[in-house]
């Protein structure tokens, strides 16, 4: 007999077959003696097992067994708050670790590329031409701004309030 048919026969016995397939098995059993014998063997084994489980008792007294459980529960409950404290920081740790790693990576890249890309870094430049002027140049937008202070702001600040314009 094919194994699939053996399994179908068993499924029929266990009430696991859909109605249509169960009807097919019934028809098959009507003319296949080998199937009938196998079904009888499976049925006998199943019936022998029904309600025949050995009755076993715990080999420890109720008090002793409970004392071990109680002790384990206390131990578990003592360690749980520590675990929950840890779990509070865990999300922060999960968030900060990649951010820190990215920051470190960024610093490393900048320190390596910094000297080589001085031209690109010159996009924004602030220079002091002399004590009385500042130049701001943005190469990306082609903007240059010049601040001139004449007289010098410090000198104005030192002037008398009456002469301040």
């Amino acid at each position: 007999m094919e194994h699939d048919n053996e399994l179908k026969l068993q499924a029929y016995l266990d009430g696991e077959l859909p109605e249509a397939e169960a009807r097919e098995v019934l028809k098959w059993l009507a003319h296949d003696q080998e199937a009938v014998l196998l079904q009888a063997e499976l049925k006998n084994t199943r019936q022998a097992l029904a309600g025949a489980e050995r009755l076993i008792q715990l080999p420890e007294s109720r008090e002793f067994f409970w004392s071990k459980i109680e002790r384990d529960i206390s131990r578990v409950e003592r360690t749980e708050p520590a675990q929950s404290k840890e779990s509070f920081f865990a999300p922060w740790r999960r968030l900060l670790v990649p951010v820190s790693a990215a920051a470190v990576l960024g610093i490393v890249i900048l320190s390596v590329l910094g000297p080589m890309s001085s031209s690109s870094m010159a996009e924004n430049e602030v220079s002091s031409e002399d004590d009385t002027g500042f130049v701001y140049r943005d190469d990306t937008t082609g903007t240059t701004m010049v601040w001139l202070s004449y007289p010098a702001e410090n000198e104005v600040a030192n002037q008398e309030p009456a002469t301040k314009l």
Binding site: L42, T45, A50, L55, L58, F65, W66, I73
Partner: protein, 198 residues
């Protein structure tokens, strides 16, 4: 709830009290169901020490997960599922430690059971209940863990194929095949015991 109340209360009331932190109520539940939980662990592990440890672990897990118990099944059934899962985890650990044997590979393909002729005589016919239990126990002890587990879940826990597959983390086809060969092997073992008795 007083001690007297605990001993006379129904499981439902004890579970409710235990869910609110009443340890005495939980102790009463342990007292009532400890043998059943231990027996299931023993039937799967076939080792007294391991069965005691696993049933103890199951009770601690039961206390921790008590708020997840919604009362869809009885408390005893819920606890039994916990101990079964612990036993299966333990058996998987042990299996990983064992080398892959031919016997283990034969669980689904059948091994010698494949060539076994069909028994035309019922090996348990006429046995008294106590004798039948003893023989079943002896025969079950000789099965592989996989065959024993599938029989326990189907015949004693009355699980359907689908539930067994979920519990044992395998396909329904594997469950059907294992169950078929487990039954055939058990029948042969029962026949051997019958012959030895004569």
């Amino acid at each position: 709830m007083s001690d007297k109340d605990h001993s006379s209360a129904e499981d439902k009331a004890l579970v409710k009290a235990a869910q609110q932190g009443d340890m005495l109520a939980f102790e009463e539940l342990v007292g009532r169901h400890r043998d059943k939980i231990y027996a299931r662990a023993f039937s799967m592990m076939r080792n007294e020490e391991e069965a005691v440890d696993l049933s103890q672990e199951a009770w601690v897990k039961g206390w921790q997960r008590l708020n997840q118990f919604q009362g869809e099944s009885s408390f005893g059934t819920w606890m039994t599922r916990i101990v079964i899962n612990l036993c299966l985890d333990q058996l998987r650990k042990q299996k990983r430690q064992r080398t892959e044997s031919i016997e283990a590979m034969d669980q689904e393909s059948g091994g010698v059971e494949r060539q076994m002729p069909v028994l035309t005589v019922n090996p348990t016919a006429g046995l008294e209940r106590a004798e039948l239990r003893q023989r079943i126990d002896k025969a079950m002890a000789q099965l592989s863990h996989e065959h024993r587990t599938v029989l326990i879940l189907h015949e004693f826990e009355e699980m359907e194929y689908k539930q067994i597959a979920k519990t044992m983390n395998c396909s329904i086809g594997t469950v059907m095949s294992r169950l078929f060969y487990a039954r055939r092997k058990l029948a042969a073992l029962l026949m051997d015991l019958k012959k030895n008795e004569q």
